[in-house]
Each structure stands twice: as structure tokens, then as C-alpha cells.
Amino acid sequence: MTEAMRALTKGPMLRRLIFFLLVSLTTLLALGLLVSVFQTGGFSPMELLLLLLYTILMAWISISFWTALMGFFTLLFGRDRWAISQRSASSDSAALPRTAILMPIYNEDSERVFAGLHAIHQSLAETGQLENFDFFILSDTRDPDVWVEEELRWQDMVQALDGKGRIFYRNRPENTERKSGNLEDFCVRWGSQYRYMIVLDADSIMQGSTLVEMTRLMECHPQVALLQTPPVPVNRESLFARILQFAGSIYGRMFTAGLNYWQLGESNYWGHNAIIRVQPFMDHCGLPRLPGREPFGGSILSHDFVEAALLRRAGWEVWLAYDLIGSYEEIPPTLIDYAKRDRRWCQGNLQHLRLALAHGFNGLSRLHFLMGVMSYLASPLWLLFLIATGVEAFIQTRQETIYFFGENWIPVWPVSFAVEMTTVLLVTLTMLFLPKLLALLLLLKDSRLRRDYGGMFAATLSVILETVFSVLTAPVLMLFQTKFVVAILLRRAVGWPPQQRGDHMTSFKEAALAHGGHTLTGIVVGVLSYYYVPTFFWWFTPVLLGLLLSIPVSMLSSSIALGRKAKELGLFLTPEETEPPPVLCYLEEHLQENEPVLPVLWDKPTSRFLQALTDPYVNALHLSLLPETESPGKRRRHYLEGLIHQLEEEGPGGLSATQKRDLISDPDTLLRLHALFWSRPPINAGMLP
């Protein structure tokens, strides 16, 4: 073994040893303080429960805290010598291999999806490396109107960018195994023609130079199968999203640097904005179905963690390129949309509970699984902890203090544990809030970064306000996530609803429906604790306040006007807002100007489905893009025949989205309907001459 190799294996081990030692010691220290409070008079079952919950939660907070601290020192000293980008021997002149840029989509806003791809394409063209990259729009869209819109937008992009043979589109007839199945379908059909694939999400944006650098890094490190970039949240204007963007940006850079510090080549995959070596992915990432039924069995939902674990199991390295900038994503615009996204992710992450103990996975892969589980399980555990604390406080208030024992006339004063309890609280709060302070300290080091965050005063004020906001929303998210976890544990499967990604305001009705229960919980718990455990009530006020104000906070934070006002005041600014990178400017331009090449896109008809039946061009394009399938059997033909008659009689309003999709999925039916609509135009529609 060479000296360099020895150093490589020793470095990660030492880092992890330090990291886990710190996490363990911190947890034990905090636990020791609590034990010292409880141990007098022995442990009651309630106290044992509190200790158990506190240990789990403290370990969870410790991991986060020490990760942030390691990230802080990494950024403070400027670089991590073990980072994959630092170990690069890349040459700018070396030819790049063919790389596929994949964008899996599912009923998304087509205009935004293609504007994003257009921006990435433009940015990539500026690097002079465009010819080495092919774009694949991998659609799993089921909505017939969105499907046709996607086809038109794709064709428009191909024509506008002269992208024939470089920009591809396909819609899967069946969306088997969802996103992982979508990617698998790509790999099986075309994967062998590419050395790398860069996986994006529908709202991903990546700078061209970043894409090129990712490919170069992979070329320099043949043992690496996956390189994840940290996607920075951008582009939203609502107050909620801008606060999250700010937090994700200013704290996120510290956390990702910290994660890289102790994970190095055993990092994780977050599902998008990552480059993957295709062959090992094909060899080792064919996902099985988990035994049993949903929610724990069936398809693996959060496939990314599992794919990273499978690659690690096969001996490949997985890295987080924490210092690679130019990787962006968009986040949900409102608190309710954020919770909806959580609902989708929650089931997938809880599934990982079964995988954490599966045979053959590496230790860190297991930890990634457990961290994924804890992202959601932490909420019910916190809730349980709060309830247990309240009950324990209530029990304490019921116990009469005895000052005189037996014949002893000297009073025995009750021992006060105020110092220990305050220390426990302070340790916990420090671990939660110190990373925010450290992130601010990092700004002192870098004047440009300080300016990008709006200056030291504005950044400090933003951190304070963000902290208040996160304190207010944390109890709401805790109840949301607890509800999701309970629903899943009761085997009530979570659906796969498409996200509402664009900025939009939360109405009172929507907020009341979503948060009515939270408000009521706040009132009931507040009254009960005030009357029965008044000392506990005052400790509990931050949680109660969050619940009581959930409706106005949810509504106000969804406001785009407030988000813009905060921006004007220099609050929650991020570097991407202060000085937008070119690729984000391109996206904005494409969304604003939006001048399609295809005339058919100049107008927005009420139904693209009907347009596929009536417009000769749309009809021809759609038909040409249908996959080669076997002719439908007799039963299927009868079914389609029935749908045609239904359409003739009732119009498109009488058909479900699935039925419409069935009609335009069959070539013969499509041609027949086209002729039918032209020979017998709709009576009242006025759509045909």
C-alpha cells in the first residue's frame, strides 16, 4: 500500500472516530445531567421514558451540531484537503465522454420545466462542451393535457436550439416503480451509450460549468460511482420560501461541508443534481420490491439512499462535492406545500427502517438510512417527550413536600435541581442555535459573502427573524410529521400527489383546514397546562404560540408581497438573489419572454387533449411520439370504441383523465378521432372551421 493510499484510509477513519466520539460524549454528558436530576428517589417509569427519549433526541441533535461545527471549521480554514475537488488532477483540455442529462418529470408545469432546461442548455453551450451532453426529458406524466403540452414544448426546444439528436423526449406508457423505474427504463434502453448520467429534478437548475466540472471530477476518480452536489434553494418569492432559501444557503453550506468532512467517499445520494457512472449503477442499482404490502413493503420509494448504499456495498465511492457551486433547486412556496412534500417523503424514509439492518450494507449507509428515518421520526419523539414532560410535571405538582421525617425536628429542605435542569436546557438550546451564530461568524471572514447576504446587520437581523420563524413553525411541522408517521404506521399508504411548485398564496380556507387542528390543540393544551401545571405552561409557551398562530403564520408567510418587501429591506438575501448567476438569469428570461418557435404554443387553448384530436400538427406530432406497442386486443378495442362513443355524446368533460389518456395513446383511435372531429365538428365548441 502506498503512502498516499495509507493516508487516504487513515484520514476518513480518524475523522469519523473524532466525530462519533464527540457525538457520543455530548449525548452522554447531557444524559448525565438529566440522570442526576432524576436519580434521587430512584427512577419512575415516566422518568425512564423521558431519559430514553432524551437520549435519542440528543444524539440526533448532536450529529447535526457536530456536523455543523466541523463544517464551520472547514469553511473557516478555507478548504478540506480530502475533498474530492481538492484531489482532482483534471485537465481542461481533456475530451469529455458522452454524458446524458436526465430530467424525470411527472405532471409538472411544462413551461417551467422547459425554461429550466433551456437555461441549462444555454449555460452549457457557453462552456463549449455542449456536444458532449445529450438531454433526456423522461416523462412519467399521466395527465393528457400536460402530456401533449410537454411534447409541444420539447419540439419547440429542439427547433429553437437546433437540438435534433441531442434533446430527447419520451413518455412511458406505464409509470412502473415511479421515478426509480423511470431512470431504470432509461438505463436499460440507452444507458450503455453513456458513461455518465446527470440526474436532475423537475425544478433543478445547474450551471453549465458545474456540469462540466462534475464530469471532469468523475473522469479523474474512476473509483467514484456517484457525485452529489449540494443544491441551493433559489427563485421563490414568498416570505416562507425566502426564509427557507436564506436558511438553506447560509447554514446549508456549513452543514454540507461538515457532512463531507466525516463522510468523504461514503456519502449519500439525494436523488437529483448528481452525476452517476452509468455502468456500475446498472450493475448494482436494480431495485427489488420489498416484501409485504405498502407502506413498508412494495416499491422502494426513497430510492436514492438505497442506490447509494448499493453502490457502496459493491465497493464504489459516493461523494458529496460540497464546494461545487452552481447547483440549484426550487422549494415549496408555502408551509402547507412544504408539509405536502414531507408527506410524500415520509413514507419512503420510514421504509428505510427495514433496510438499516439489512445484511451487507456499510456502516455509514446504515447511518444514512437511520438519519433518513429520524428526519421524520424525530417529530413524534419530540411530541412524546413534551407530553411525558408535561405529565411528569403534573405528577410533581401533586406530590406534597414533606419537611419533617419521623421524630426529626430539623426540616429537610427539598433539593433544588434548577441548576441541572437549566444546564440541560442550555446545552440543548446551544446545540440547536449555535450553528446559526457560527454561520454568521463565517460572514465576518469574507467581505464579498457578507455583501451577498445583505451586509452584517441585515444578515444578523435575518438570522434572528429566521430563528423566530423556525421556532413558530417547528411545532406545526412536528404535528404534521407526527400525523404522517402515525398514518403510515397504521398502514395507510401515502399517495404520490404532484407538487404545486409555483408561488401562490394560502387562502384562509386552506389554512384553516390545514391548521385548524393545530390551533385547537394549542388552545386545549394551553388551558390544561395553565390550570393544572402552571410552571410547565410558561416553559411551553413557544410551542403553544406556534400552534395558536399557525393559521396567520401560514397565510402571511405564503405572501409574495411580504417576501418582496423583505427583499427590498435587505432581509433574507442570498448570494443568488444579490448577484444571480447567469443560469438563473437565463431561466428568468425564458420565463418572462416566453416566445415559442412553434406557432401552436403562442396561444394557450383550454385543452391540449382536444388540440391533439383536432389540430393536424399536434395530432401528427403526438402520434409520431407514441411508443411502438402491440395492437390492442379485442377487449381493449371494445373499451376504446366505448370511449369514442362517450366522447361523441358527452364531450371531453364526460371523460376522466385516464380515459382521455387511453384515447390518445392508441394510434388508430387517434387518427380516427382526428377524422371524426373534422367531419363532425363539435356543435358548440367552435374550435373547428
Binding site: 435534433k164 436494480g286 401528427a620 402520434l623 366522447l647 364531450g651 387518427l671
Partner: protein, 174 residues
């Protein structure tokens, strides 16, 4: 589906005309040719007549108006297949039709009426360039399903006996 929104009083599409007049047929065909981008009335008339001459091929299977429109599309497809030397497959011909109608060759109807010459060949070349290529040629590869052995307290006892049974599914819950 909201059935209340469905108009049950009259059909959505116009009622079937059992024996449409020649003028009615020409009228519908004319509208269709115009939608395809043919604006010259003489060309429309000539194309419509050609389509009507093909009617006996279709008239038995469907109503006359629909048959006339199918014949019009077939007329166009024939020309495209000849000009571009394409196989007569619905998707291939649809791709050619889409290329013709996407606006890249604005004067295409004129070429229909000219004998094969350089101009027609140029149009054919332009059409080939404009043909959509949705996906590259497939080069099938394999992505074998991985085996994941889930944890069980009885694992050591069952490991041997389960190996055979679970090898086909790729997933073992031992």
C-alpha cells in the same frame, strides 16, 4: 367526473350526415386543407377532388365525411412517403406530417403540384432535417434486480433454507 356538467340533451359532436352532398364534402375537405396550410382555392379544389376519388376505398368502413377526411390525410401521406422514401407506417408518416406542418417549409403546398425537381428535392431535404427524433436508437442493456436480505432474528437459522427459495425474486426477508 362531474356528470352534472355533461350535456345529455344533445351530442357533443355534430350528428352524422348519412348522405352528405358533394358540396358538403368539398366544404369539409376545404376546411381541412386550409387547416393544413393550403390557402390557394385552386389547390384546395384539386386536392379535394383527388381525395374524393379515393373515397370508394374508405366509404364501406365509415361515414362519407369521415372517409373523405381519411382519404385526404392518406393523399398527403402518399406524397410524403414518395418524396421522403418512407415506409408506410403510421408513426413514421405522422412524423413526416408533423415535420411538414411545423412551419419550417412555408410554401409546401406549391411543391405538391410541381414535378420532381431540385426545388422538390430541397423540400425533401428540409423535411428530413425537420423530422422529429424523439429518442436515440435503443441499445438494450441489463439492470439486474439486486438482492437485499432484510434483518430477522431468525436469520441464522433460516439463511440456508431460504437461499434457494428467494433467489428468483431478488429479495429475501429471512
Amino acid at each position: 367526473m362531474d356528470r352534472a356538467q355533461v350535456n345529455t340533451g344533445e351530442h357533443y359532436l355534430a350528428p352524422l350526415t348519412p348522405a352528405p352532398s358533394h358540396d358538403a364534402l368539398l366544404g369539409r375537405l376545404g376546411a381541412y386543407w386550409r387547416a393544413l396550410g393550403v390557402s390557394d382555392p385552386k389547390q384546395i379544389a384539386a386536392l379535394s377532388e383527388q381525395a374524393l376519388r379515393r373515397l370508394p376505398d374508405h366509404a364501406e368502413s365509415t361515414d362519407l365525411l369521415t372517409a373523405a377526411l381519411l382519404a385526404a390525410r392518406e393523399l398527403l401521406d402518399d406524397w410524403l412517403a414518395r418524396t421522403l422514401d418512407l415506409p408506410r407506417q403510421p408513426r413514421v408518416l405522422a412524423a413526416a406530417r408533423a415535420a411538414l406542418l411545423n412551419g419550417t417549409i412555408p410554401n409546401w403546398p406549391a411543391v405538391l403540384f410541381t414535378p420532381p425537381d431540385d426545388a422538390a428535392r430541397d423540400v425533401a431535404d428540409d423535411l428530413r432535417v425537420a423530422l422529429a427524433e424523439a429518442v436515440p436508437a435503443s441499445v438494450p442493456g441489463a439492470m439486474p434486480t439486486q438482492r437485499i436480505e432484510l434483518f430477522s432474528l431468525l436469520h441464522p437459522l433460516h439463511r440456508g433454507s431460504r437461499q434457494d427459495a428467494s433467489s428468483s425474486s431478488g429479495m429475501s426477508h429471512s
